[in-house]
Amino acid sequence: MTDDRRDRGVALARAARAGNTLALHQLLDHLTPYIARICTPIALADGPDATQETLLAVFRSLRSLKDPQALYGWVRAIAVREAVRIAQRAARAHPAELADVPERGDPQLAADIDDVLARLSPAHRAVLVLRDVEGLDEEAAAALLGVPAGTAKSRLHRARMSFRKAWSS
């Protein structure tokens, strides 16, 4: 995200908290694609639901955001939490060990990279999103997800290996 966009989001949050509902309206437009980009790879088919639930949670508790400068980190944490929760609730997630991902040449593997994603648990997908889309290091991603840093690191490594296999098959 560019500094300009970030500054705009912070300014809108500040104006909204001061009581301006038109700024709140613009903040909704501004945050929706950012939240969808986090929620969709984690919640997959339930991405739109996760995006909506995140926006509801963000708007409901906007007044509790002490420092508008912290807007994006705060929104990101809510988005990840909601996406993981929605994905688990929908029972679409079937946490599987990455060793279960099919071997090279397996017709199922050739089908789609989405298949590999779907075989990861929501929390694993969240590690990928936080690290590779949001640019967080393993420690920060692990802290946000409430798992040990070593676990996040090894899961990320194994997930990347699976992707590599999938793409090169």
């Binding site: 301006n20 509902t21 969709t40 739109p48």
Partner: protein, 161 residues
């Protein structure tokens, strides 16, 4: 609809969640979206007939989805409204008022249109969030919804005798 687009009624729920004291009136009207939205978005005509306190609205400016209008209440108060109008969506604010309206087609064979209304009198206190006066708001919205349903019905079948 892309994953980034949110159903207008759901969007209204999100906006209302960000406004302290806001209530929502929500109903499914037995008419197609186009007919319902034609009534709701007619700011200079039908809008003043179903919003209980509005007597007359004059649109001053439209630029893209931005709109600016001058409203006069039946008690003579004037409101300079600014906001956004999109298909199925309207959000307006003046110094003292907030008005939010949304409509979305109901999928499935029964059809119809889901409509949601929110808004009220703005509270200007340092509250770290937008706010409206919560008292009486629900009954006002409910009255607006009843009138809106009547206006939509009248346009479909003609006014009741």
């Amino acid at each position: 609809m892309t994953t980034h687009e949110i159903d207008p009624v759901q969007r209204l729920r999100i906006m209302a969640a960000g406004v302290r004291g806001a209530r929502i009136a929500e109903e499914v009207l037995p008419a197609p979206f186009e007919e319902v939205w034609a009534v709701m978005a007619d700011l200079e005509g039908e809008f003043g007939r179903f919003q209980p306190d509005m007597r007359r609205v004059r649109v001053l400016r439209v630029a893209g989805d931005r709109v600016e209008a001058l409203a006069r209440s039946k008690y003579g108060f004037r409101a300079h409204l600014r906001g956004f109008v999109r298909p199925g969506w309207c959000w307006l604010q003046s110094r003292f008022l907030v008005i939010g309206m949304a409509a979305a087609p109901v999928p499935g064979p029964g059809g119809g249109t889901r409509v949601a209304l929110t808004g009220g009198v703005r509270v200007r206190v340092p509250a770290r969030a937008p706010a409206v006066v919560p008292y009486g708001t629900a009954s006002e919205l409910s009255r607006a919804m009843t009138r809106l349903a009547e206006r939509v019905g009248d346009r479909r079948t003609g006014p009741a005798a």
